[in-house]
Structure formats: structure tokens, C-alpha cells
């Protein structure tokens, strides 16, 4: 392992939360992985967009609501959350249905900026094509 290597890691999220554990355990990897100083981004494609909807309430299904954790990603310098526009549209959702996930930009006097980047399928295809490591759960 060459010390200085920086790879582009993308976590590809395509499943709704709670029906399966993948969303939760994916988030656990993202948080641990933040310590490794790689170039990290997350993609929410298809049903993956439900992972970051506003107003999740799990009190009646006996599971922990882990959605607030996405708000902590900025503190770990994870600031690129790509959401596919077409996936939202097909599902009757808009960016207003998603949480306001933000980060503070240290290069811009700690201004608060949105972490969610809604992109078209074509734009997302370009981003994916530029990755080194794609983690899919």
C-alpha cells in the first residue's frame, strides 16, 4: 500500500431502508471509511432515495431510526451525496421530500452548503464511470 494513494470510493445505495439492513450497514461502512482519507461519495439510485427521506418514524416497527445519522456525514468530510433525479420522479418524490443534509465548507469560511446533489441519470453515469472502488450492498 503506497501511503499517499487516494482512491475514489463510491457507495451505491439502491434499496429502501428497514425492509433490509443494507442501508444501515452501508452507513456504518461510510462512517468507518471516513477515517481513511479517501475521496468518498454516495449515490442514491432507484429505491435508495428512500434512505434519505424526511420524517422517518420507526417507533411502530421496533427498529431504530438511523436517518439522523446522514446529517452527521458532513462532520466526517463526506459531502457528496448524489441523488438521481429520474429515480425521484418515477417515485412521485422531489428534493423537498429529502432531508436537508448539509456540510460546512472549510474552504469558504465554513459556509453551510447542501450535501445532496440532484443529478440526471446521464450526469450520474459520468460520476460512476470515474470511480475506482464501487461498494454495493
Amino acid at each position: 500500500m503506497s501511503e499517499g494513494t487516494i482512491k475514489k470510493f463510491m457507495y451505491v445505495n439502491r434499496k429502501p431502508p428497514y425492509g433490509t439492513v443494507y442501508a444501515l450497514e452501508s452507513l456504518e461502512v461510510v462512517l468507518i471509511g471516513a477515517a481513511f482519507d479517501q475521496d468518498v461519495s454516495l449515490a442514491f439510485i432507484g429505491d435508495g432515495v428512500y434512505q434519505i427521506t424526511k420524517g422517518q418514524s420507526t417507533s411502530d416497527i421496533g427498529m431504530k431510526n438511523f436517518s439522523p445519522t446522514y446529517n452527521a456525514l458532513g462532520d466526517y468530510d463526506i459531502t457528496k451525496l448524489y441523488v438521481e433525479q429520474e429515480s425521484l420522479t418515477e417515485r412521485g418524490l422531489s428534493v423537498d421530500d429529502l432531508m436537508d443534509i448539509v456540510y460546512e465548507d472549510e474552504d469558504d469560511d465554513w459556509a453551510e452548503k447542501p450535501s445532496i446533489r440532484v443529478v440526471s441519470r446521464a450526469e450520474l453515469a459520468d460520476v460512476i464511470a470515474g470511480q475506482d472502488i464501487l461498494l454495493n450492498f
Binding site: G19, G46, G55, Q56, T58, R91, G92
Partner: protein
């Protein structure tokens, strides 16, 4: 007959399989990840509206809430039930088919 569908209609074909084989007069209950199909403005809304002309569609409220989908977004005519309502549906219908 009660039919349960637990997968997203955008990712799997289980709702389609259910709708193709459920007779008129069926009760169809969306649970787990299946609840995401129940809201307005999706690519499958018209399919649900058509189904409700001859069958009833229900959605499990606790699973809807977990995924951040509020009841005011539901397709008109879909009824919300809790786990007690799920039990009632199972009891009222003579058999249950889970579209796994």
C-alpha cells in the same frame, strides 16, 4: 383472499405478479418495502387506481411512517391499517397469499 406484497414495485415484479393473479374482490395489503408503491404521482399510480375498481388496497401504516411517507400522500382510496388491522384482514379473508 388476502394478498400481501412486501417489495417495492419499482425494483421487483411482485406487485405485478399479484395484480395479474388476484381475482376481483381481493384484499391487497402493501407491507415492508412494498409500501413505497402507495403514494401519489408514481409511475404505478394508474395501475393501483384501476385495481381499486374491483379490489381493495391497504397499506401498513407503521411501514409507511418508517420510510418517511406521510398518509396525505397516498393514492386516493388506499386504506391505512396498523398491525391489528393486518390481523383483521387475515382473519376476514379465507386464505392468505404472500407474494415473496
Amino acid at each position: 383472499m388476502l394478498h400481501t406484497v412486501n417489495k417495492s414495485p419499482f425494483e421487483r415484479n411482485s406487485l405485478d405478479a399479484c395484480l395479474g393473479l388476484a381475482k376481483a374482490g381481493s384484499a391487497i395489503l402493501l407491507i415492508e418495502d412494498g409500501v413505497v408503491g402507495a403514494i401519489k404521482g408514481t409511475t404505478i399510480e394508474s395501475k393501483l387506481t384501476e385495481t381499486m375498481q374491483s379490489s381493495k388496497i391497504y397499506v401498513l401504516g407503521p411501514d409507511l411512517a418508517a420510510r418517511g411517507l406521510s398518509e396525505d400522500k397516498l393514492v386516493d382510496g388506499i386504506q391505512v391499517v396498523d398491525y391489528g388491522g393486518f390481523v383483521d384482514l387475515a382473519a376476514e379473508n379465507t386464505a392468505v397469499q404472500s407474494w415473496l
